[in-house]
Symmetry: C2
Subunit: 338 residues, 2 copies
């Protein structure tokens, strides 16, 4: 029982390996009848093409990499689903790499991609990513990169984002319309483009309502407990706060728990709106007013753009910006309580 490879098929059918190869690729040069025979024997012998040999020979791996900070938030979990859906449909494989929000890891990962392991990359930059030379270097090697959600501003490539500024603006306006007078915004990593955009939308809403605040952006970290403390301390230090807008799903928990610890009732004392994608929003205590990003679609779109670029050899990925809007869903955490 020899291993079944292209050579074996060739021998059995008294054809050359190149004919077999072409037949398996459904090449137009091969006669229908021959194709038929090849496919039949391949199936009969349970032939499985060696992916590495194929990649080596063709210089295309049919593999894309997904580089993301974490998979805790529902956002990235849902985005993976979207990416995987289109990849699977097109016969592509998906390698997952987590940067754990560290620039150095991100650099190492991308650097290694120069080996040709992957044909392209779909990524969301880490919270630490200020310098982007590693991304540029990869692109210079001809590996296309598509950003989704968290993009690097200074790189001209396709990106799929949501209307960060606008949706935060809407969320903030919503709080203000519900009679909030003093707000705080929970943020991570201010040099992240999306963070800045969200803050900008927030500020614009405040400005339009004639409100000027200072020190109203709380920079949180990765540790939920520490963040909870941070929020708690802020709420204690400035008792007037009656509205919280959280820009990350993870921070919702900290906001709720900080309020609980201080016996502040939501929405009575403090109203909360959060970027949030998990279905649990509806069954929180109280149910949460959310800004939810179309995570699945964003992943799907990013992967689609990448695969499209991969189709023509001259992988020309133009600086295209697809914006998929988030939706504000009003629930009890911002109910007006006269």
């Amino acid at each position: 029982m020899d291993k079944v490879n292209i050579k074996r098929l060739a021998e059995e059918l008294k054809l050359s390996t190149s004919t077999i190869s072409r037949a398996l690729q459904d090449s137009y040069q091969i006669g229908a009848e021959t194709k038929q025979r090849v496919l039949e024997l391949a199936k009969k012998l349970n032939y499985q093409p060696n992916a590495h040999a194929s990649s080596l020979g063709s210089r295309r791996s049919k593999t894309i990499a997904v580089v993301i900070p974490e998979v805790f938030d529902s956002y990235f979990a849902l985005a993976i689903n979207g990416i995987e859906a289109v990849a699977q449909a097109r016969g592509y494989h998906v390698l997952i790499y987590l940067t754990h929000e560290r620039l150095q890891l991100e650099q190492e990962i991308l650097h290694a991609f120069q080996s040709g392991r992957v044909d392209g990359v779909v990524m969301s930059v880490s919270a630490e990513t200020t310098s982007t030379a590693h991304i540029q270097a990869l692109r210079a090697q001809g590996v296309p990169v598509v950003f989704f959600d968290r993009a690097a501003d200074d790189i001209d490539t396709a990106r799929v984002t949501t209307n960060d500024a606008e949706s935060t603006y809407q969320g903030t306006c919503h709080l203000l319309e519900r009679q909030c007078t003093t707000l705080v915004l929970l943020s991570i990593s201010r040099h992240l483009s999306i963070s800045r955009q969200r803050i900008e939308g927030y500020r614009r809403a405040l400005a339009e309502h004639g409100i000027s605040q200072r020190d109203d952006v709380i920079d949180c970290g990765q540790d939920p407990e520490a963040n909870c403390e941070l929020v708690k301390n802020t709420l204690e230090a400035r008792p007037g706060i009656d509205g919280i807008i959280s820009t990350v799903e993870m921070l919702t928990e900290s906001a709720y728990q900080a309020c609980a610890a201080l016996h502040l009732r939501i929405p009575h004392d403090v109203k909360v709106v959060s970027f949030y994608n998990a279905r649990s929003a509806a069954i929180l205590n109280p149910s949460l007013t959310t800004i939810s990003q179309p995570a699945f679609e964003m992943g799907k779109t990013a992967a689609t753009l990448l695969l499209k670029a991969l189709r023509n050899p001259k992988s020309t990925l133009v600086a295209e910006n697809v914006v998929l809007p988030s939706v504000l869903t009003i629930r009890n955490s911002t109910t007006f309580v006269g």
Copy 2:
């Protein structure tokens, strides 16, 4: 500017390609000084080894596959983190495949692994997986498979599970101790080993409390709305129900919403305990009593077992069963209300 490969390095240093190859692999046969020179030039020229050529030549891909049903539940998201953590630490790469709970997809995915694309597989079977020939076939080809969470009973290999029966038993006892008299258990796919185990633990608890019930297992599907309807209909049809135990994170939402729709108060009218891993458990309305699996550790352990097996060529993966206990955390959804 030629492409920089091992041959190029060899020429520049006037060494053979094999010496370069060995030096790069830190072989003991190579002199320290030579190694030094090779590594320096490699770095200087930004040499990146071609992963496919390497895999082809060595017949080892340094890649493992993760095959899971979905990434919606926090469980799998957390498990991915665990798997990725150990893979990254050992220089392995992680390919993600989603079966979307479909046996056919799972079969196709595993079948394709016979090509040598991956060195091993960490998997959780789909809800439809009754036949396991595809898994056996892969193992027969010498590709080791480690199960985590959802294992196939009839396959003798390493598996990492939680104490499904025992923890469900505990959760059920907890409900009974809180004076519940009529329970239902929300399940998916009864032929899944873990489902059966959980049901068994549940039944044992009931039996020990002298309770015999019928038709108390509700078989849910993948659609949250449909599941909600199902739960609602059951609660309506049998008004005595005062305790729900949900065996899947996703079903918690359906349980909560069904209760809300019927104006049943949790925990007053109905108490709820659920397998649940998301941090949001603490801020649900009411906060949820959970049985939480050590998801990250389970992923980590499964990957560790796989990589260990991969180290010795004779990939002997014995039928070893690592059980990491879940923890019951009591919150308000099961508070006793006299």
